[in-house]
Symmetry: C3
Subunit: 139 residues, 3 copies
């Protein structure tokens, strides 16, 4: 069994942002040399997500509207967590809705993906460097 690990770092321009990281992860899978296996991609911070969906800008804004309606950023005092001095109580919940991680099948050295699957980094408390882990195991 082989394994290969890399960490990616993202600093978003906005508090909330959605970045297509498919190519960056594919590069790591290529470097791993693994032909058959699994690739784990997860946010290493608890106010960010990794998820798979469609690379369509309207859809990404729909997700953002949906999340902000469900767990709005303001009022800040809506969240007990923010009594610690933080203002990111909403971001912990938004990340939970979108998910921490994806596990992707690697077949013949490539993502075994459907036609529209793309990997996204979802940031809910950004504007500072935050990391994503990519680990490939297999043969």
């Amino acid at each position: 069994m082989k394994s290969y690990t890399e960490h990616l770092t993202f600093t978003t321009k906005n508090r909330r942002d959605y970045i297509n990281i498919t190519n960056a992860v594919a590069d790591i899978v290529r470097k791993s040399g693994i032909r058959e296996g699994l690739c784990l991609v997860n946010a290493m911070h608890i106010t960010a997500s990794v998820f798979i969906n469609d690379n369509e800008s309207g859809l990404l804004r729909d997700f953002d509207d949906f999340l902000e309606a469900l767990a709005p950023h303001e009022p800040i005092n809506k969240y007990r967590h923010n009594r610690t001095g933080e203002d990111n109580g909403d971001a912990h919940i938004k990340r939970t809705i979108m998910g921490r991680e994806v596990v992707v099948a690697i077949t013949n050295g490539k993502f075994d993906f459907g036609p529209w699957e793309q990997i996204f980094y979802g940031e809910f408390d950004g504007q500072r460097p935050k990391r994503v882990l990519v680990k490939v195991i297999g043969e």
Copy 2:
């Protein structure tokens, strides 16, 4: 390390549907010959889910009611995504709530499951052939 991959195809009768795929996935695990490892099961389309829950028809309807209240199909123009000509903006969100994938432990050649765990395919924009990936790795 061994690995084994198959794709299943589902064409649902209704736009939204919930199909118990536990036996179909168990057959693939059996064919893999793998005794100890992990089994990834994921929707390959971004408007469908794979999730684990109870095989109880009332519960599946509760999930459907819950999802439709949270991200209703209509009005179609509620979703920016639908400006592209699609009418499945809601389905992308519903699938995200229910999850893209499950990873299941294989122990002694079988699902290492609790008493009520069953694997479901959740379809939110069906009536056409859509695929599910099953990949088993281990020994």
Copy 3:
């Protein structure tokens, strides 16, 4: 490839509870002797979750408030599932929101975690023994 499996059992004091299980899972990883691989941690019951977030008590109460607003326990007859004689229809939905499982990278024999990542067991229908599966595969 090596693999190692253990099951943990939790009986919570309250119907809903959130337990930090990071150390218990880390002990199992240590016992596995695996240095590079993946660790699956999942609830084996369909009314409980395993998720990763911050070990901050206010945040855990925010999650509980959020879930109870989204899928309230009462009125019991709100859920078709409860017509079977159960009263845990809400718990199936809450667990789905929080997620069944996490997959964690093991690098150099340890969780490859960000600074705040902690593993939690989320119980939504407790006060009886329920199990969590931990399976580590790798080398």
